[in-house]
């Protein structure tokens, strides 16, 4: 710990505590209420786990990209496209077949949506962050247009699709209301395990790591860097789309305007917090899930606007990013 980092942490804490004091809330009170609202009751735990699921899957998507040297800020757009495609497929084909179709369709749609960014990066040298930001905005307008037009449920006032039939939903793994746990959470954890194994045990995983660590050295060692870059983006996009599918099939059961409250952007924080191991995504997503659910709770209980959560998450990202740089430099 050096003094620069200490100043940053103190300043970040100061901002949050100062904001709480300015609106007349005791910081310790806010902290306890966040815990109470996120893990204090069975119902709260259920809500936190629900909130954690998309963060977990999207965190994996971003983490995979980062490992391959790509900043996939586009997961927000891939999430929306995946969810929109999954909802329309699930509505067309009910039952188990529909679930499978929606999962695969969402993943493919997410991959296709990420493809331009990967291609532009690999073959045109355009920064993937800029292209994914553009793709995010196009995805937002496209899905909004679709759900306001051709996909809109007949007879509905709001811009939303119809609701999936019960047979087209992902089932609950544990259901003792108010605590319910959807199978999608297990699915997400399995994805983390799969990624960890894949990165460690396969040639492709090794190549991806090599490209992310040093593309020039990888090229020299005979890795086709361009191809790996495109495939990394496709895989990251597919997982992003999959997160959208799961969100529709497990929790929302429909697609509507304003579907994502910014999961894709929080996922970037999750992946950064995760550090160097894919397993780190799990506690990071859990923390963001707790903060998000807890801050919803305190916005009602203590009249603290939900925006404070954004400030907190942004500050956490900043502190960890600064910390990560120190560590990587001392290693190198």
């Amino acid at each position: 710990m050096n003094w620069k980092l200490a100043i940053l942490i103190v300043a970040a804490l100061g901002v949050v505590i100062g904001a709480l004091i300015a609106i007349g809330v005791a910081p310790s009170d806010a902290f306890l209420q966040i815990l109470k609202g996120s893990v204090g009751t069975p119902g709260a735990i259920g809500r936190t786990l629900r909130e954690t699921t998309p963060l977990l899957i999207l965190g994996v998507a971003v983490f995979l990209g980062l490992r391959g040297g790509l900043f996939n800020i586009g997961v927000e757009g891939q999430f929306l496209i995946g969810a929109c495609v999954a909802a329309s497929l699930g509505l067309k084909v009910p039952g188990i077949l529909g679930v499978l179709l929606a999962i695969v369709g969402g993943a493919i749609a997410g991959a296709l949506w990420a493809f331009p960014a990967g291609w532009i990066k690999a073959y045109r040298g355009g920064h993937e962050v800029i292209s994914t930001i553009m793709l995010n905005n196009i995805a937002f307008h496209l899905t909004t247009g679709l759900v306001a037009g051709p996909l809109k449920a007949p007879g509905q006032q709001s811009t939303t699709t119809a609701t999936l039939t019960d047979s087209t939903k992902l089932p609950m793994l544990y259901s003792a209301p108010p605590l319910t746990i959807n199978i999608a959470l297990i699915f997400a954890l399995a994805l983390v395990a799969a990624l960890a194994l894949w990165l460690k045990r396969t040639v492709a995983g090794y190549e991806l790591n090599a490209v992310g660590a040093n593309p020039k050295a990888a090229q020299f060692a005979g890795v086709d860097v361009r191809k790996v870059t495109v495939w990394t983006m496709l895989a990251s996009g597919a997982i992003g789309g999959l997160a959208g599918s799961c969100q529709v099939l497990a929790y929302e059961h429909r697609f509507y305007e304003g579907f994502s409250p910014g999961y894709g952007f929080d996922a970037l924080g999750v992946a950064l917090l995760a550090g160097s191991s894919p397993w780190g995504v799990v506690p990071a997503a859990g923390l963001f899930g707790i903060l998000s659910t807890g801050s919803s709770f305190i916005s009602a209980a203590l009249q603290i606007p939900k925006g404070l959560n954004g400030v907190l998450i942004g500050l956490i990202i900043i502190v960890f990013a600064a910390f990560r740089y120190r560590r990587s430099r001392s290693n190198g």
């Binding site: 620069k4 980092l5 940053l8 904001a19 300015a22 609106i23 900043f71 800020i73 331009p116 291609w119 532009i120 045109r124 040298g125 355009g126 920064h127 962050v129 800029i130 292209s131 930001i133 553009m134 793709l135 905005n137 196009i138 937002f140 307008h141 496209l142 909004t144 247009g145 306001a148 037009g149 910014g262 952007f265 929080d266 970037l268 924080g269 950064l272 606007p305 939900k306 925006g307 404070l308 959560n309 954004g310 400030v311 907190l312 998450i313 942004g314 500050l315 990202i317 900043i318 990013a321 600064a322 740089y325 430099r329």
Partner: protein, 284 residues
């Protein structure tokens, strides 16, 4: 196309371009100095919020200063994080956007007087018009004709060479981001002046459209400004065509909204000429 009104189009388009122009010029000074800036959106938004709150409390001039000040604070945070802490430019920009969205929501919800009615006190529109349309010209002259401008250009293209020539890149970047904060602050103040009040997330992606215009314009002031004006025009066409039929078919407004992003994507793919990004973008 009976309802299409050219006069109205030409009247509304400049207003819709204004915020884009100011924000894009903010992005220009930052990226020309080598700092990638995806946080134009956040800086504008925090300025919208603070301008609205402080205009009500202390009048329009203090409101404007407050908005600019808030955007400058975020710009300086970006500078400190990227230069002193060596945080990745994208991560820092992203975090600043998230903070700005949260902070503007927080401040607005807690400090807005809900019993107050009517619009917030505002400066004359002409003030913003003159500022926004003069800025690209001034910046163009500055970059071409002055020592400071050439230094900015040099640092963005090759920080190491600039260092060897006796220019301190870090100092240049702090000044460049100061300008970014001021311009984005102005952009936000204009948005809230134009709208009459603050609404959550009211920048609605304009910071990203400004970034798109900057890229389309090849990181040069005049072409970037022309792109902003084109996007403003597009926006005003979109507003007019809402509900009306073009060539017998209704085109959803979302299509028009996507066009700036689509154009930028095509430009990034290199289909609209060579890559003109500052060579030292993102380098320490």
């Amino acid at each position: 196309m009976g309802s299409f009104d050219l006069i109205l189009l030409l009247k509304t388009a400049p207003g819709l371009s204004l915020a884009l122009l100011l924000a894009a010029m903010g992005g220009l000074t930052s990226e020309r100095s080598g700092i990638i800036n995806i946080a134009l959106e956040g800086k504008m938004l925090i300025s919208c919020c603070v301008t609205a709150l402080m205009s009500v409390a202390f009048g329009p001039w203090i409101g404007l200063l407050g908005g600019i000040g808030a955007a400058v604070v975020l710009a300086m945070l970006h500078a400190v994080l990227t230069q002193m802490y060596r945080v990745d430019h994208i991560v820092s920009g992203m975090a600043i956007n998230i903070i700005a969205f949260g902070a503007s929501n927080f401040l607005d919800k807690k400090f807005t007087d809900i019993n107050r009615t009517g619009e917030i006190p505002q400066l004359p529109f002409e003030f913003y018009y003159v500022a926004a349309f003069a800025l690209p010209l001034v910046l163009w002259l500055y970059l071409r004709r002055t020592k400071g401008g050439l230094r900015l250009w040099a640092v963005g293209n090759d920080p190491d060479k600039a260092r060897q020539m006796g220019v301190d890149p870090v100092k240049v970047r702090y000044l460049a981001l100061l300008a970014t904060g001021v311009f984005c602050g102005l952009a936000g103040a204009w948005l809230v002046t134009n709208a009459g009040r603050f609404v959550d997330g009211m920048t609605a992606g304009r910071g990203f459209i400004a970034l798109a215009a900057l890229i389309l314009g090849g990181w040069r002031p005049i072409p970037a400004a022309l792109a902003c004006i084109a996007f403003g025009l597009l926006d005003s066409i979109q507003l007019q065509l809402q509900g009306s039929k073009l060539l017998g078919a209704g085109i959803p407004s979302q299509f028009w909204n996507s066009l700036p992003y689509l154009a930028t994507l095509i430009a990034l793919a290199g289909l609209l000429g060579r890559n003109r990004a500052p060579a030292g973008l993102g380098k320490p």
